[in-house]
């Protein structure tokens, strides 16, 4: 494996010598996501393998090119899982891409995001040197938390070569309840329920239906169901549904005639004034919207309720066009200075996270 690493380091050094930007690529499953692709491909899929998994430590360490599917299968054999249910968006999806994209699945609102489970990273700087931040322990406050900073960085800080993640035991049981209700009523109910101790692990509002997944000990599910009412969804149908939402194969996502926007808002926010179908997750905090509108207009509407917008999937992605909500002037300045100090030659994934960086 050290050969693979050697090759990566050489490519980084060569790129630096020639000031030729690199486009970091794991499995390419998230090529559609973020700013348009630029630069010479640096393939990271060859540096793969699970380095260490000790179930009693609740930690797994894997190289960036390891497929998410392989990682999840390993954890499953030990009765464990990634709590944040990362979307794969393709069988070739890798662990490095998962951390760099920072996307979390249906369990996000209750279990936390990718960043909440990153314990440590090994990364490469522009000189081809290996740096290690965080570690394999649950608590670590030595120095700044650069490990978490890499989650969702879209690779602009350089290649993530190895990650240590906190893992959790698989829930003993799950059950999905469904209700008929309006969007507004559904949002209100989900927020109310989140305030009483219930084992809610996912939620979905779409097409006049509210779905709630419960996960935990049998006993906990029974008492929760008694409190909530609703109909129980067939277990196989429920599993298919949550997978389809996570992987965006659900009919709402599959129809790509219009752009797909992700609106991340406070969970109690009212519906944004945007025409078109919506699918709501995360207890009201993640709202998917299908439609076409001016980027700035959508951003303004999301910002008005304290949230932000992402143009998640579009057939109309233009080079240099933003995918992510613009930063405030102060944050933009901090991003510029961070990038300048960590990647002064702008080698890594230009424009992928912030158009100017």
């Amino acid at each position: 494996m050290s050969d693979a690493l050697q090759t990566i380091a050489e490519q980084v050094r060569a790129a630096r010598a020639m000031r030729r930007p690199l486009r970091l690529r794991g499995g390419g499953s998230k090529d559609f996501y973020g700013g348009a692709l630029q630069g010479h491909v640096l393939d990271l899929s060859g540096y793969s393998g699970i380095v260490e998994h000790e179930p009693s430590e609740l930690v797994v360490t894997a190289r960036c090119g390891t497929r998410i599917a392989e990682l999840e299968a390993t954890l499953e054999r030990a009765g464990q899982c990634l709590a944040f249910e990362p979307p794969h968006f393709g069988p070739q999806a890798t662990v490095g891409g998962m951390v760099a994209a920072g996307l979390s699945g249906p369990a996000r609102a209750s279990a936390g995001a990718v960043r909440d489970h990153v314990l440590g990273v090994r990364v490469m700087n522009a000189a081809g040197e290996m740096l290690e931040f965080g570690g394999r322990v649950m608590k670590n406050v030595a120095g700044f938390d650069l490990a978490r900073l890499h989650a969702g960085s879209m690779g602009i800080l350089g290649p993530i070569l190895e990650v240590s993640l906190k893992v959790v035991p698989q829930p003993q049981a799950t059950q999905t309840l469904f209700f008929e209700c309006t969007e507004a009523k559904g949002i209100e109910a989900l927020n109310r329920w989140a305030g009483i101790a219930l084992p809610m692990s996912a939620s979905l509002i779409h097409d006049q239906h509210l779905m709630v997944r419960l996960s935990g000990a049998e006993a906990a599910l029974e008492s929760a169901r008694a409190k909530l009412g609703g109909e129980v969804l067939d277990p196989a149908a429920a599993a298919t549904l949550w997978r389809a939402v996570r992987e965006q194969t659900h009919p709402f996502f599959a129809d790509d005639r219009r752009s797909l926007w992700r609106l991340s808002v406070p969970s109690t926010a009212p519906r944004l004034d945007l025409e078109g179908p919506q699918l709501i997750e995360w207890g009201g905090a993640q709202r998917w919207w299908r439609g076409e509108a001016d980027f700035a207009v959508v951003c303004d509407k999301a910002a008005a309720v304290g949230g932000h917008a992402t143009l998640f999937r579009t057939r109309l992605r233009q080079p240099g066009a933003p995918a992510f909500h613009p930063l405030s002037a102060v944050l933009q300045g901090l991003h510029e200075r961070l990038k300048a100090s960590m990647d002064p030659d702008h080698l890594f994934n230009p424009g992928r996270l912030v158009p100017t960086l």
């Binding site: 009693s56 931040f133 608590k139 700044f144 101790a197 930063l327 300048a340």
Partner: protein, 536 residues
């Protein structure tokens, strides 16, 4: 070098309000004062006359906007701020400011950065690593007067608070909605949310409910130049790099926090606790791993060895088993059925792991008694020794027994006792070295003992600090844990936020020079990371 904290104080004698007056400075170090050690690389040694003029200028500028009683400069007013919980390090600040509003904080920062004056933020001063140690030629910025809970939204489950609000006050205010703020450091009656954010504080319930970083949605504050900035949002994420994660745990080096949105969670209807006795510390350590391996995440999982148990039992009468070599406290929370189920599973695993006795709390009163002992552990230990020094390393759980044996060997080597009380579920150790600073050489032996333990933590793949921070205390060990290139990256981050190096200079991230002086080579787990790669 590390300095001890004095043992003769207890949390009950610590400030219970946000008032950082001299009365609240109960920690007095028998180890004496070490003035002047706070000078960071940026401090300019000024001659007496020049520093007097400088001080007069700073005071005058600050008083243009702040009332006279919010700008302190006489020794009798500034001395109470000379140290935090690591009281062996002392330094009177040039000026203390006590702003009462966010605007005033912004003003102070703008003036200080224009004048090139270092600024050290301070919450309640309970930090154990000297993070709030003042700068001798700087301003100590107390956030204690920003102590209002601005709003609690029970439906969204969010509390908006100012940084000077005490940790426990948040849960008290949210209790009417049956909600609470999960991170619960043992110092929670005194420590502030601003300090918790700066240290990424943890508590006994972290294993299940996370650290500060998992429970904070948004931090508002100022950059060193007084620009208002927001990290995170009341949504679950925000655009760009996750600077919220970067700012949490940054020990006041990157920004000054003036408002925080905290995630509240529902209080579980029931909690019960098991007290398990073990004949050896090793088997107790192994039982911790067995519980986790069985797929159980306890609400709390704490270990105390016999010396700690005996000290505590004399002090609080918690009903602990004083014959056991070690006891574990293992808590379950949730609905009645869930708890009943989980307690049964925990009992089975602990029994199989060799527990010699198991007691399950039969009432809320009994459960609180079990915890009262754990929470009083530090003051209890303080009663059996003139001084103690609390360490804070974290290790992979599988090395618990090994590291505990190592600590026992160090007790022999240095002829010092060292009871252990710690967050076993997280692998976060708090060995307490007992010493008497008035006995010739004990302080030095304590420091050498502590340094060996922290370096052992790094050697087994752990870290030099799990929750108390680096501050000034562990700055040398940073050179052991990180390579030159890694430290360079930390400095790059600092530079991006604070190019002039005015916010809390000299803390957390050691200078190149400092590491050269300490003379330690960073070696991780006995090998260089990626030793197979050529180094540049």
């Amino acid at each position: 070098m590390n300095r001890p904290i004095n043992s003769s104080s207890s949390p009950s004698t610590r400030p219970t309000t946000n008032d950082t007056s001299s009365a609240s400075r109960s920690l007095q170090s028998a180890a004496g004062t070490t003035s002047g050690n706070a000078s960071g690389p940026q401090s300019l040694p000024l001659a007496g006359g020049a520093s007097f003029l400088r001080k007069a200028e700073v005071v005058a500028r600050l008083r243009r906007r702040l009332p006279a009683n919010a700008v302190l400069h006489r020794a009798e007013d500034t001395t109470p701020y000379e140290c935090d919980g690591l009281s062996a390090y002392r330094q009177t600040p040039m000026v203390v400011v006590l702003p009462a509003s966010e605007d005033e904080v912004g003003y102070v920062l703008r003036e200080c950065s224009a004048l090139g004056v270092p600024v050290v933020a301070r919450g309640a001063g309970t930090g154990l690593s000297g993070g709030a140690l003042p700068h001798g030629e700087g301003v100590l910025l107390s956030l204690a007067r920003l102590n209002r809970i601005l709003s609690i939204d029970p439906l969204a489950r969010i509390a908006r608070v100012q940084p000077g609000v005490r940790n426990l006050a948040v849960s008290e205010a949210a209790a009417v909605h049956r909600l609470y703020y999960a991170p619960d450091p043992s110092s929670q009656i005194a420590c502030t949310i601003g300090g918790n954010v700066a240290e990424n504080a943890g508590g006994v319930h972290c294993l299940k409910y996370g650290l500060t970083v998992h429970n904070v949605l948004r931090v508002r504050g100022f950059t060193v130049t007084g620009e208002l900035v927001e990290f995170g949002a009341e949504a679950l994420d925000s655009s760009g790099l996750d600077l919220l994660a970067l700012v949490i745990g940054s020990e006041g080096l990157l920004a000054v926090t003036t408002e925080v949105s905290l995630r509240l969670i529902p209080r579980p209807p029931l909690a019960r606790c098991i007290m398990a006795s073990f004949d050896t510390v090793e088997s107790a350590g192994a039982a911790v791993a067995a519980v986790i391996a069985a797929g159980i995440i306890p609400a709390g999982l704490e270990l105390m060895d016999r010396p700690a148990v005996q000290a505590v039992e004399h002090f609080v009468h918690a009903g602990y088993d004083t014959d056991a070599a070690a006891i574990l406290l293992c808590e379950s929370d949730g609905s009645e059925l869930e708890v009943e189920n989980e307690i049964a599973r925990m009992q089975a695993v602990l029994g199989e792991a060799g527990a010699s006795a198991l007691r399950v709390s039969q009432s809320e009163e009994e459960r609180l008694r079990f915890w009262a002992g754990r929470k009083a552990a530090f003051p209890a230990v303080g009663r059996i020794s003139p001084d103690y020094y609390c360490m804070d390393g974290t290790i992979p759980r599988k090395h618990l027994a090994d590291v505990l044996r190592f600590i026992a060997a160090m007790e022999q080597k240095y002829s010092l006792r060292c009871p252990n009380v710690f967050h076993a579920g997280d692998g976060n150790l708090h060995p307490l070295i007992l010493f008497d600073a008035n006995t010739e050489g004990e302080l030095e032996r304590t420091e050498a003992f502590a340094a060996e333990v922290l370096e052992k933590c790094v050697a087994v793949g752990g870290t030099i600090t799990g929750e108390h921070g680096v501050g000034i205390e562990k700055i040398n060990q940073m050179c052991v844990q990180f390579s030159a290139a890694e430290l360079e990256r930390f400095r790059a981050v600092k530079l991006a936020f604070d190019p002039a190096g005015l916010l809390n200079p000299g803390k957390n991230i050691p200078s190149l020079h400092r590491c050269a002086e300490y003379g330690r080579q960073h070696v991780s787990a006995g090998r260089l990371p990626f030793g197979d790669l050529p180094r540049f």
